[in-house]
Symmetry: C2
Amino acid sequence: MRSYSGERLCGKCFTRSIENKVRATIARYDMFKPSDNIMVAVSGGKDSVTLLHILAKIEREFPKARLCAVTVDEGIRGYRDEALKFAAENCRKLGVKHVVTSFRHLFGVELDELVTRLRELSRQNLEGLSPCAYCGVLRRRALNLIARKSKVDKLVLAHNLDDEAQTILLNIMHGDAPRIARVKPVLEEKHRLFVPRVKPFYEVPEKEIAFYAYLKKIEFQSVPCPYASTALRSDIRTMLNRLEERHAGTKFTVLKAIEKIRPALETVAQETILQECTLCGEPSVGEVCKPCQMLQQLGIQ
Amino acid sequence: MRSYSGERLCGKCFTRSIENKVRATIARYDMFKPSDNIMVAVSGGKDSVTLLHILAKIEREFPKARLCAVTVDEGIRGYRDEALKFAAENCRKLGVKHVVTSFRHLFGVELDELVTRLRELSRQNLEGLSPCAYCGVLRRRALNLIARKSKVDKLVLAHNLDDEAQTILLNIMHGDAPRIARVKPVLEEKHRLFVPRVKPFYEVPEKEIAFYAYLKKIEFQSVPCPYASTALRSDIRTMLNRLEERHAGTKFTVLKAIEKIRPALETVAQETILQECTLCGEPSVGEVCKPCQMLQQLGIQ
């Protein structure tokens, strides 16, 4: 079953091994304190719903810790509305408080409208990135806003080993190697307005999460986002899966390789000083933060 | 023809464009001085023979420069002996002095014997890397020894864009990310015993070199080395070629991405101080250099 370790486990031992892997990851990277107020970003998809299940189980061992979930409704008709139901239903089953926020509420615009606007701009031959680039920036902002407002200590992301290995190669193939320094299990920005983000699935392969969800009969949304068009990422995923099949352990090795050079990359990146955006007051690299820049470019802000 | 730039050139314009690319690479990275004594490492394969042709042409414009070629005979029966003929024949045609040295002469052992010894060791369950790992270390040492002995100013390697992009990903997938700092067009080690190495094909895709060789009717050895077993590199090659087909320019972007983080990696790597090997006197990271370690491990030195 696990070709990188040669293990063969029964269903019970397998699910326990995943839970223990998550426990070990949390401990190794010192992700939580026993009294932390924890918020899990739950999209409604396989990874985040499964992580919520595992964390809800672990949390029972820590009576002083608190756990809640958040879903950001980007406003993607026929997709996010359905995912939201899965997120809500799983929270209800687990007895976890579920917070819902939306692009509409926070930024006054839904992703569907934003994409329409983007397509108009690209017809006018104006610059425009893929919908995913806008969605990613705004979703990260939304999560930080809601986490801060909810006074949580840690925001939990369900990024898994595959995601992280893909992101590393994607950054290199996009020519943005310095960004690989940001692929790490705990993200703590040097600004008081940022809520630290942690990734308990950092070392767990996507395939094992899928198998855990299957064994535990966890229900989640499996339809992909209609805007998902990151052709390069999906090619890198295919390629990494092929390499992993032929050279077991490749994804993990990629992660570990980057860990060796991360300190060097961070030393250089330290020059970046975060200030507060002159428009919204949120942390920003330049005078105007990326989300405000994007909303302005689209004529929304 | 060139999907990354959309250019379509006739044969004459194409070969000229490759020659000019090599000229531009030499100038950009300040590879040569007009009076340099230059030695090209020629294996007899497509890349090195083609580079020799182009450099011989360029050299005619620099009367003070001197050009010679070197072939290292590793001692691979049925393979290197044939490659040597191609190397010699091309040198003769171009009127370039051809130096030949061998593992037998320099290290007292041929690669064929070394591989036999490696296989014996692996039967005894002792550690042993692939033949390529040994061959690479010894060949680099051989080239440096012969270049120094021949009093050349620059040793030229025919590594192309594909090789370099593959090496970057290979280092990451081998978990040795710090090594990617060494993927660069000019390698100048901080030790007086090292001859600087330059790569005029650093930015030239393999496919274009092949097409240049085809148009110019250059003859070279096309049989692969019988020991070539670097499964991971060949998988990475396939994968990079697929990505390049679908996302033109990927290989070049990988190279440029690494250039951005190289200074950071080098800052950290600078701690490595080269000393002289206590056995052979050649530059070494530790007390005993890598070639001596390998020869000792195999019971040869």
